[in-house]
């Protein structure tokens, strides 16, 4: 991956509640993520991982509490704190080619020299030769590569991965792990939700287990780190 110049940015969740009708998805979550940290969120289905990441992406508004970036209030320097988001849904159009998808989102984000940036990213994710193929003809792994390229278009300082390895074969997981490793090493702040241990989870520098919408464990050390990922003691 290209290692662009950007200012490292951290996140701060303060007393976040999120309610969907009668369901309290997050309860009083307070977390401080330092710039450059690679945080793995673990927890059972419905524990609030996806909701927390979507709040970090500002796709979901918290019912209570606030999110701020590097101590700045939310909304300040908007373009600098627009996170890149990769989910298990690819968030790209099947009816468009890989290149058309990337150009579309690059233009929407007003990426300077959009064509050059798209060209670079297509090469980095290994899709240069399939640039003109419609995404609907791609394998799951190739779609996820397009998704990662889309998330990196504006060179975000924060990257959010919501179960990015879902549906990938071992080769795809290995490619994804390598891609995330390079992004982590470039100094980006990374938040990812995962199920269990994998090549990807081993990249984390911090593990947080969510349980029923609350932070149940938070560690940076080896043994506890592993137990959080495997839900031991959950």
């Amino acid at each position: 991956m290209t290692l662009p110049a950007f200012a490292p940015i951290g996140l701060r969740f303060e007393n976040i509640d999120k309610r969907y009708g009668g369901l309290l998805a997050l309860r009083g979550v307070s977390l401080s993520i330092a710039p450059g940290e690679c945080v793995v969120f673990a927890g059972r289905n419905g524990s609030g991982k996806t909701t927390l990441l979507r709040i970090a992406a500002r796709l979901v508004r918290p019912t209570r509490g606030s999110l701020s970036f590097s101590g700045k209030s939310d909304g300040a320097e908007e373009s600098a704190v627009r996170p890149g988001f990769v989910a298990h849904a690819t968030m790209v159009y099947d009816e468009l080619s890989a290149e058309e998808n990337l150009l579309l989102f690059a233009k929407l984000q007003e990426v300077p020299h959009a064509e050059n940036r798209v060209e670079t990213l297509l090469q980095e994710v290994g899709l240069s030769e399939r640039r003109s193929s419609l995404v609907r003809t791609f394998s799951r792994g190739m779609r996820q590569r397009v998704a990662i390229a889309r998330a990196l278009l504006h060179e975000p300082a924060i990257l959010l991965f919501d179960e990015p390895a879902t549906g990938l074969d071992p080769q795809g997981v290995a490619w994804l792990a390598e891609a995330i490793r390079r992004l982590r090493d470039s100094g980006r702040t990374i938040l990812m939700s995962l199920h269990g241990e994998s090549d990807i989870s081993s990249l984390g520098t911090r593990a947080i287990r969510l349980d029923a919408g609350s932070v149940a464990a938070d560690t940076r050390t080896g043994a506890t780190f592993r137990s959080i990922l495997t839900f031991a003691g959950a």
């Binding site: 979507r54 992406a57 500002r58 796709l59 979901v60 508004r61 908007e78 627009r82 996170p83 988001f85 989910a87 849904a89 690819t90 968030m91 790209v92 159009y93 099947d94 009816e95 468009l96 058309e100 579309l104 989102f105 233009k107 929407l108 984000q109 007003e110 889309r150």
Partner: protein, 224 residues
């Protein structure tokens, strides 16, 4: 500036995907065509009868067809969660609505223009002398249908029973446009054509009011 730049980019995407799939245009065109042809054969109207009820029939067909067209408007953005990608990318979420309503208006208007000659022949109504007025009414009413329909499509796409919800919400909301458009069209197709300015003004006001409401509250419709 970025609102209109984003709108133009998104409108290009809407047109490109429709050009490749031809889902919306085909469905709408075929539906209106079937209604026009079937009613013509079923009632075999005289010229005077046609002038009286054909405008109402035309607008009813357009209204039902538009609900078919508007249904997938936001629904297909949920397939790969592309709506989230759009929300993360645009600086003003209103651009998403503007592009979609512009595309819907364009597709609806295109269908109407293609079917207008057939309508004139099947119902024996002279549209040429009042064509420019007719196009104005078609444009304003199609815009109104698209504005209200795009907003309701965004609401219904997140709801259960979404396929049922859109027509149930849309048809009553658009009843005023249907009634007024049919009345204005009837007056235009009369033996002594009259331009009903009050009716045209009403449709224009409907468009402005709903567009303003969409501008003010559209962002909330996209939230999860």
């Amino acid at each position: 500036m970025s609102l209109f730049a984003n709108t133009a980019v998104l409108l290009g995407k809407e047109i490109r995907t429709e050009y490749r799939s031809r889902e919306l245009l085909t469905t709408t065109f075929v539906f209106i065509l079937i209604v026009i042809v079937l009613f013509s054969f079923a009632f075999d109207p005289t010229s005077d009868e046609s002038r009286r009820f054909a405008p109402g029939l035309l607008w009813l067909a357009i209204l039902f067809a538009s609900s078919l067209m508007l249904q997938p408007c936001f629904l297909r953005e949920q397939h790969n969660d592309t709506l989230s990608a759009l929300r993360l990318s645009v600086s003003d979420p209103f651009a998403i609505f503007l592009a979609k309503l512009a595309a819907n208006t364009l597709f609806l208007l295109l269908t109407e223009i293609l079917l207008l000659p057939l309508f004139a022949v099947m119902y024996n109504v002279p549209v040429i002398p009042v064509l420019h007025w007719l196009l104005l009414v078609l444009f304003l009413a199609s815009l109104g249908i698209s504005i209200a329909g795009t907003a309701l499509s965004a609401i219904s796409a997140q709801a259960r029973m979404r396929e049922l919800l859109l027509p149930v919400l849309l048809l009553p909301l658009l009843a005023p446009i249907l009634v007024v458009s049919a009345e204005v069209t009837r007056a235009l197709l009369d033996r002594a054509p009259v331009v009903r300015w009050k009716g045209i003004g009403f449709i224009g006001v409907f468009d402005v009011v709903f567009l303003t409401a969409l501008w003010l509250f559209g962002e909330y419709l996209l939230e999860e």
